[in-house]
């Protein structure tokens, strides 16, 4: 469960203060499917980064399963990200010199799992996104949709409870976007919290809960 209470995020740009988030209060239950929409610069990515513990709010509290995350140290936040949070980015962020399987295995590698143990898990994850036959391909040998599915397999390999996707279909055509969204939704059906930031109305409308952000605040929250 995610509890945001009066989250503010202020960026200092020169002498000016940019209020990217203004008193955002939001509660998200286990297994929810949320879409966040809104005009450019409304604070969607900033909110997602804070939810993902990549960024710290200027004020307010963020509790994850009852635990206050703002008082966590750097390492504790990193460990929480590793085990509980998955990220999917618009530009995939695959490591270009690693194969699809190695990219997927990266989080397991970093957490110290032996190659033998990893093998089965990675195969399963690639199978889930329908890319088992592309395991040994490097990212530049894959299409955009395939790359994004590799990125999803990587984001979920540690079995996180939260999956954060910032415009996951932003670089994809309609059909590949569709298949990526379907993979994400399938994961949500298995119980993961899915939060998708998108500019695409059709995709946004698919979510059970739809949030609209304007100018750093939540203007609409429809279930």
């Amino acid at each position: 469960m995610i509890e945001l209470d009066s989250i503010e995020r202020v960026f200092q740009v020169g002498d000016e203060e940019v209020h990217a988030l203004k008193h955002v209060t939001l509660t998200i239950d286990k297994g929810e499917y949320l879409s966040i929409m809104g005009p450019s610069g409304s604070g969607k990515s900033t909110l997602l980064n804070i939810l993902g513990l990549l960024d710290r709010p200027t004020s307010g509290t963020y509790r994850l399963d009852g635990i206050d995350t703002t008082s966590m140290g750097d390492n504790e936040q990193a460990d929480t990200r590793r085990h509980r949070i998955g990220f999917v980015f618009q530009s995939y962020h695959l490591v270009p010199r690693l194969t699809a399987a190695e990219n997927v295995a990266l989080p397991l590698m970093l957490s110290g799992m032996a190659p033998k143990e990893r093998h089965v898990i990675v195969e399963q994850a690639l199978d889930n996104v329908d890319l088992l036959d592309r395991a040994e391909h490097r990212p530049d040998q894959l299409s955009g949709g395939q790359r994004q599915r590799v990125a999803i397999a990587r984001a979920t390999i540690m079995q996180p409870t939260i999956l954060l996707a910032d415009e996951p279909t932003g670089n994809l055509d309609h059909i590949s976007g569709e298949s990526v969204i379907e993979v994400l939704e399938a994961l949500n059906k298995q119980g993961i919290i899915l939060i998708v930031v998108t500019h695409d109305m059709d995709i946004g409308e698919r979510a059970a809960r739809r949030i609209r952000m304007v100018d750093g605040s939540i203007s609409k929250d429809v279930r």
Partner: protein, 399 residues
């Protein structure tokens, strides 16, 4: 993260940029090769010089007249120095652990046989020369153990002297004139070659007492003594010093052991080796700058990757370790290649120019490799720290 994965990841990123990794490692390789090659030559010269000096044995101790604090100069610094005498030598012979004693007087004189003559170095010495200086006669015998004050007029020729004066004839039993005096040749030394450019075979040995008269000297130039290899050198030195002081009244002599001389010589040569090594070290430093540059570029290029790693829950220290690992991998492989090139080059040089002594001691090799690794760490630490300190959001957003 497991060690094998760590190695695979760092190897992977280093290999993905093979050309520039190769060039960076080459910078270190050249530096290490220079260090290894130069120190190999330095160490070769070191060993060569020490071997030259220790061919006369290492259990030697020399007493010379005059008291000096620095060795190298000899002779009368103090006016009241009493000469070292043959009697001093006789007395030293009786000291425990002393096996043999040679009094040495040196000078130049004309040596004649028939119509041939040659000016050469005359060494006045005693019967113990073969034992003390570890040189022996080729034919005949060395000077006999005569009463030093009344030694018979015998001479022993260096091998070159024998050749020059007698050609293929046997000189044994012949009479030569040395500075006008008649000496009977009783032996010819085996060839010793040259030492640091000085021809050891172009010499002639006569009894020390006769050399004193011939060169009109009051005392001998040096008393060399051979001690048992089991002897305690410090105690022996102390004993000799006391004996000599008792005979001379005060310390107007200097005792140098061969060991001390070799040590002093050794430390001078060590400085030489170190100096040439440092010269090579400069190019190693340049190689280090190369690593610093290339790693800074790598961190800039891979900002997204760093952001991703952080998003995946990689701790800052792990990021630091990964980039440091790459820097060390570059320097360590470069260093290893440099070792092979340097040691191989030294060996080739040794083969090509036999006159140039080269020697590559393993601890220099180890030291050079450790130095390369250390340079990798030093050069890599700043870029790696920058990578670790990047803000993950900024890193992911970077253009």
């Amino acid at each position: 993260m497991q060690a094998t994965d760590f190695i695979r990841l760092t190897l992977g990123s280093v290999f993905s940029q093979h050309l520039r990794s190769f060039l960076t490692a080459l910078g270190i390789a050249v530096g290490v090769a220079a260090v290894v090659l130069l120190t190999s030559i330095g160490e070769g010269v070191h060993r060569f010089v020490l071997a030259e000096f220790s061919q006369f044995g290492t259990n030697i101790l020399a007493v010379t007249p005059g008291k000096n604090t620095t060795f190298g100069m000899s002779g009368a610094v103090i006016n009241t120095v009493r000469p070292l005498t043959m009697e001093d030598a006789e007395a030293l012979k009786r000291v425990a652990d002393v096996e043999a004693v040679v009094s040495v007087v040196q000078g130049n004189a004309e040596v004649e046989f028939g119509k041939r003559s040659r000016r050469t170095m005359i060494i006045g010495a005693g019967h113990a020369v073969p034992a003390v200086w570890q040189m022996d006669v080729e034919i005949g015998r060395f000077l006999p153990d005569d009463d030093p004050r009344n030694a018979r007029a015998f001479a022993v020729l260096g091998s070159k002297m024998a050749d020059e004066l007698f050609g293929s004839r046997s000189p044994l039993g012949e009479i030569v004139r040395i500075a006008g005096e008649r000496f009977r040749v009783i032996g010819v030394m085996e060839s010793k070659g040259t030492m640091l450019g000085f021809d050891l075979d172009d010499t002639l040995f006569i009894p020390a007492g006769r050399a004193l008269e011939m060169f009109n000297r009051e005392g001998v130039m040096e008393i060399d003594l051979l001690y048992r290899s089991t002897a305690n050198v410090d105690q022996l030195e102390e004993q000799i010093s006391r004996l000599m002081q008792a005979r001379h009244g005060y310390e107007d002599f200097t005792i140098i052991t061969q060991e001390e001389m070799l040590e002093t010589l050794g430390s001078i040569l060590d400085i030489l080796t170190l100096a040439v090594g440092a010269l090579g070290g400069i190019s190693l430093l340049v190689g280090g700058v190369g690593i610093l540059t290339i790693m800074s570029i790598a961190v800039n290029e891979r900002t997204h990757e760093i952001g991703l790693l952080r998003a995946l829950g990689t701790r800052r220290r792990q990021v630091l370790g990964l980039f440091l690992g790459e820097a060390v991998l570059l320097s360590a492989t470069g260093g290893f290649a440099g070792l092979v090139i340097g040691a191989g080059g030294a060996a080739l040089l040794g083969l090509a120019i036999p006159a140039l002594p080269v020697h590559t001691p393993w601890y220099f090799v180890l030291l050079a490799e450790l130095m390369a690794v250390a340079i990798g760490v030093i050069a890599g630490v700043a870029p790696a720290r920058r990578a670790a300190s990047l803000d993950p959001v900024e890193a992911l957003r970077a253009e």
